[in-house]
């Protein structure tokens, strides 16, 4: 009788141990899945891809329309002018405006933060970005920290406070930059002395890029 109850105890113990560990292992697997699939990134990636595909489709449709009109000289010349105007906007050759956000950072900031912040702005759909009035274009977008802490952008020296202006969807730009774990959170964690403010605007004007 005593042996039976002792065997029973061992069986119960084994069963409890097995169940406990199975539960713990299953929980760990789920946690790992969550960590590997970063929800913020995957949702952002889906949104960015969707917007990006819409833009690709729009641009393709616009060219298709131009081609469908056939080889009409007058129409073709008009389209060339429109394309020049669009490309001048992209190249930073003209002053531009639109809704967007203004981010002001005050403090000593290493140049790689400028790289990351502008990358984040473009990732969030910014169509033009300027820092302290200097529009970023293909030829001037390299950042460097000077020995006295100032930032060299192209051939221009920038000093704090740094005002970033971005034209794009102001709601998405504001929410993404401010979100928990986002670029401003990380900036605050790494550079607690840097003061910053960010606001959305209906009308931001960025002047053309100047050497």
């Amino acid at each position: 009788m005593k042996h039976t109850s002792q065997i029973g105890m061992i069986v119960i113990g084994l069963t409890v141990g097995v169940l406990f560990t199975m539960q713990a292992r299953t929980y760990t697997d789920i946690t790992t899945l969550y960590q590997r699939e970063n929800k913020v990134n995957i949702f952002r990636e889906i949104q960015v891809l969707k917007d990006s595909n819409d833009s690709l489709r729009d641009e393709s449709n616009s060219i298709k329309e131009q081609l469908a009109k056939g080889f009409n000289k007058e129409e073709a010349l008009k389209n060339i002018k429109a394309e020049i105007e669009k490309n001048m906007i992209i190249a930073g050759d003209v002053d531009v405006k639109g809704e967007g956000i203004k981010l002001i950072l005050d403090g000593n900031i290493p140049s790689f933060w400028f790289v990351d912040i502008t990358n984040e702005m473009f990732s969030t759909g910014a169509e033009a970005v300027s820092i302290n009035g200097q529009k970023l274009a293909d030829w001037n977008i390299g950042f460097d920290t000077l020995p006295n802490g100032q930032i060299l952008v192209g051939e221009n020296i920038l000093s704090a406070p740094y005002t970033f202006e971005a034209i794009g969807n102001k709601k998405i730009l504001l929410e993404t930059l401010k979100q928990s774990g986002g670029i401003l959170n990380r900036l605050r964690d790494n550079l607690p002395k840097v003061k910053f403010s960010i606001e959305a605007y209906n009308d931001i004007t960025i002047t053309k890029a100047v050497a």
Partner: protein, 238 residues
């Protein structure tokens, strides 16, 4: 054999503890499977399917856009022949400046790759999106005329981000090794590359041979044209 009551209780407690311990050890040997119909897995699978579908769309849209741009350019060149007063030359110069044309010339070919024993537990052996951003920033500061990463042309609005185990450049998934082409004044670019303060973290890992870095000068590099979109939905001429 007769045990006193206190001894029996201790024996029972010991046996139960031993049972739990053996149970834990035995079960730990087997990997638990998350049930295939779990909500979390379904959600993740749905997200991955959506991503896959968007990426397939993107690839086909980019091919279509490249073909359409080429056809349009051909038409514009024909127009130039018949109308000397057209602004095709201005348009072509702008296309070159914003990255819509192939660039050929001398420059540097840089190969950056994960370390040999790269794994997810030691981040320092992996190439991160930030490493590529820093390197591209250096090349830009060195006045490179044209840059590409694994065939993706880098333009002003190019974004480089980490997603899972891959890196997105122009929203295209790329994996190590990364071949970076930079056309420009080699001396100027090398000056920037030699400044270890400009990319301290990556420089340290390259020096410690944690990641692979090979730099070659080349006389005839070809950097492809940018094949994605330029969004101008929110922007207009002032």
């Amino acid at each position: 054999m007769i045990f006193p009551k206190t001894n029996i209780n201790s024996l029972v407690a010991s046996l139960v503890s031993a049972g739990i311990f053996i149970g834990i050890i035995t079960t730990a040997q087997f990997r638990s499977e998350v049930t295939a119909n779990s909500f979390i897995l379904d959600e993740i699978n749905a997200q991955n399917e959506l991503l896959k579908s968007f990426n397939e769309d993107r690839s086909s849209l980019k091919t279509q856009l490249t073909t359409l741009r080429t056809t349009l350019s051909d038409n514009q060149e024909r127009l130039k022949e018949s109308n000397k007063e057209s602004d095709i030359d201005i348009l072509n110069t702008l296309k070159q400046r914003i990255g819509l044309t192939v660039v050929r010339g001398a420059g540097l070919e840089i190969t950056l790759a994960n370390g040999d024993k790269a794994n997810t537990e030691d981040d320092s052996l992996l190439i991160h999106a930030a490493d590529l951003r820093d390197l591209v920033n250096l090349l830009r500061a060195g006045e490179a005329q044209a840059i590409s990463i694994n065939g993706q042309r880098v333009v002003a609005s190019t974004t480089i981000n980490s997603v899972g185990n891959t890196i997105l450049v122009n929203n295209v998934h790329l994996v190590s090794p990364f071949k970076i082409l930079a056309i420009g004044e080699v001396g100027l670019i090398l000056d920037r590359m030699n400044d270890q303060k400009a990319y301290p973290d990556l420089y340290q890992r390259i020096s410690a041979q944690k990641v692979k870095f090979v730099l070659k000068q080349a006389a005839n590099l070809i950097v492809p044209a940018y094949d994605a979109e330029f969004s101008t939905k929110f922007i207009q001429k002032s």
